[in-house]
């Protein structure tokens, strides 16, 4: 197998260049791990706002409001002085100043819509809870007032507080029973598209550039080694290189998301990446048969890999890309690889629409591979007939 051995030697010679990209992949992956925020929270606790509460009247309705607010507010004793309050807000000693004006209760009970007076720090999340609580208390009180004519303030207070004490049990469910909790596996397999495609294009083109050299081609044609045999051995070496690169990169992706390996959908990520590897090989074969020269090849490899990765959702989630961009991207195998990964991340069982969509994403990638292969054959035949 002289051609096969020669190809392996050429691959070996180009290992340093490939290592740069393997290194890049590892570096970005490590960066991702260290930068990614763990998203394994299954609940949350409400933070309390520091509220300065002033009331110019003391009625059961206002007392009820203060009681209901206690859940979301720490009441701070502070002098009711404009300057002191401003300073306290500025230095974040308090977040919220709530003032109940005189005749608030009387006006409320007669059906008017009196306003509480508030001063707060803009953009504070905890203040939003205070606002919601005030609104909720007063809206519920108004409902009782409207529905039960002559209802007393005491009654309103007790009913509203009792209603507001009702809690609904909320359970944080995982998106699926077996899939990723952190999304790291999906991220690494998506990112694999960029590194993988580049390495494959570069590796395959290095071989093809050597064998497509007209002098070498002529020299090989003079030998008793048939063109079919030569092509077959080149193809075998490319397959071996693809397989080796796939093992390394998929292995790295799995290593980086090691906690997620036992998940049900891991095998589908691996399968999807293997199919993408074959498609990338076929694409590389086509590019190599069209492009002459190493410099042009590097440029094309960059344009193809970066371009397709950007518009197909490798770096930016597909959800954030416009419909138009995704439509264009759907003419690229990378789009279907990323889509396949997305389906795999949502996969819960070996059937159903998500599973079907995942399978069709894989089949479309295989279709691309077949198409690229046929195109390469056509290009080669055309070149031979010239």
């Amino acid at each position: 197998m002289p051609v096969f051995k020669l190809c392996l030697k050429i691959f070996k010679k180009n290992i340093p260049v490939m290592m740069i990209y393997f290194g890049l992949f590892i570096a970005v992956s490590i960066m991702m791990i260290t930068m990614s925020t763990p998203t394994d929270q299954t609940g949350f606790s409400v933070s309390k706002a520091r509220v300065a509460f002033f009331s110019e009247e003391n009625t059961p309705l206002v007392e009820g409001l203060k009681t209901s607010l206690a859940e979301n507010a720490d009441f701070i004793d502070i002098e009711d002085d404009q300057e002191i309050l401003q300073d306290s807000l500025y230095y974040r000693k308090i977040n919220y100043v709530l003032r109940i004006p005189q005749n608030f209760t009387a006006d409320f009970m007669t059906g008017a819509d009196p306003k509480v007076i508030k001063t707060s720090i803009p953009g504070s999340t905890s203040n939003v809870y205070v606002d919601l609580k005030i609104e909720s208390y007063l809206n519920t009180a108004r409902m009782y007032l409207d529905l039960i004519p002559g209802i007393s303030q005491e009654k309103i207070k007790s009913q509203v507080l009792s209603d507001m004490a009702e809690e609904t049990e909320v359970e944080m469910l995982r998106r699926d029973s077996s899939g990723s909790e952190t999304g790291l596996m999906q991220y690494f397999f998506n990112y694999l598209a960029y590194t993988f495609m580049f390495i494959i294009i570069m590796g395959v083109s290095v071989i093809m550039l050597v064998f497509n050299d007209p002098i070498i081609k002529q020299r090989n044609s003079c030998s008793p080694f048939s063109t079919t045999k030569i092509n077959l051995q080149i193809f075998l070496s490319i397959l071996l290189f693809t397989f080796f690169s796939w093992i390394v990169l998929a292995g790295l992706s799995l290593t980086f998301a090691i906690d997620e390996i036992p998940n049900f959908n891991t095998k589908y990520y691996v399968l999807n990446s293997l199919i993408f590897a074959l498609t990338s090989s076929a694409l590389s074969y086509l590019i190599a048969s069209l492009v002459k020269g190493r410099e042009a090849m590097i440029a094309i490899a960059n344009v193809v890999t970066l371009g397709s990765s950007f518009i197909s959702g490798v770096f930016i989630p597909q959800d954030l890309l416009s419909e138009g961009v995704l439509k264009i991207a759907s003419f690229l195998p990378t789009y279907w690889f990323v889509r396949g990964n997305r389906m795999i991340s949502m996969l819960m069982e070996k059937s159903g629409p998500v599973f079907d969509e995942m399978v069709s994403s894989m089949l479309i990638q295989l279709g691309f591979a077949f198409g690229f292969f046929i195109l390469t054959m056509i290009v080669s035949k055309k070149k031979r007939s010239v």
Partner: protein, 310 residues
Amino acid sequence: MIVEVKNLVKRYGDLVAVDDLDLEVMEGEIFGLLGPNGSGKTTAINCILSLLKFDNGEIKVFGKPMSPEAYDIKKDIGIVMQEVAVFNELTVYENIDYFCGLYITDKSERKKLVEEAIAFVGLGDFKKFYPKKLSGGLLRRLNIACGISHKPKLIILDEPTVAVDPQSRNKILEGIVELNKNGATVIYTSHYMEEVEQICSRIMILDNGKVIATGTKEELKEMISLGEKITLQVFEMEDTHMNFFKTMENAVSVDYDGKFLVMKFQKGNSNLEQVLDYVKSHKINFGKIHTEMPTLNDVFLEITGKELRD
């Protein structure tokens, strides 16, 4: 017969690169294809090797029709192309091993052949060198080693000495003669008439895709009317002396450039004695004198009206 070509025609659009070429190469000979650049030598070779489709004609090698799929024929052909066809990614040894491996599958036999080829071209000290580290001459030698390592019956060398220093050129030419002595039939193309004259047993001269003459070098020289050429270094030449030389029997042309008197004669007897007698008797002061028989360039000049290297 090793190679037989009949009525070969190869056109590139309107340009006829090879025009009705007939060629026969006998076993054991070194057959030279001589012609200026663009005369159709390489095109003819590429047609013989089935690297090019041709428009008309018939080609047989080892008595069998040649085709791109004639692998049983190709296994006995060694080719040294005009341009160096080696892999920059492989060392000298690996390159020869690769090309030998296209013909010889047995590993131990191949190893022996590769070593022999390396020794033959004198690249023993450069086995581990990559082609980029080799000089032009060494690179040409590597190219030859890659072409002949499998010990083919027919070796085709297409201008193997282009851009090679004289020392390497002599080494290459000696090697080709040795290969021939070892039993290989050789087709050698060149536009250097001295090389072809030096090593080829039979020569075909091509010009503009057409065969203008074929034969041994003696036969080719017989084809022309030109015979001896005498060159005399003289520093002064009077008209009376010039007239004498011009009127000598068999004189074809006499030219004096102020330093050398060049006299060309028709084929026949030697004229040197008569020239020397005249020079001595008239006390003409002269430096060097030498005589030579017509070269292939003279043959080419007389047939085509132009120099071989024009």
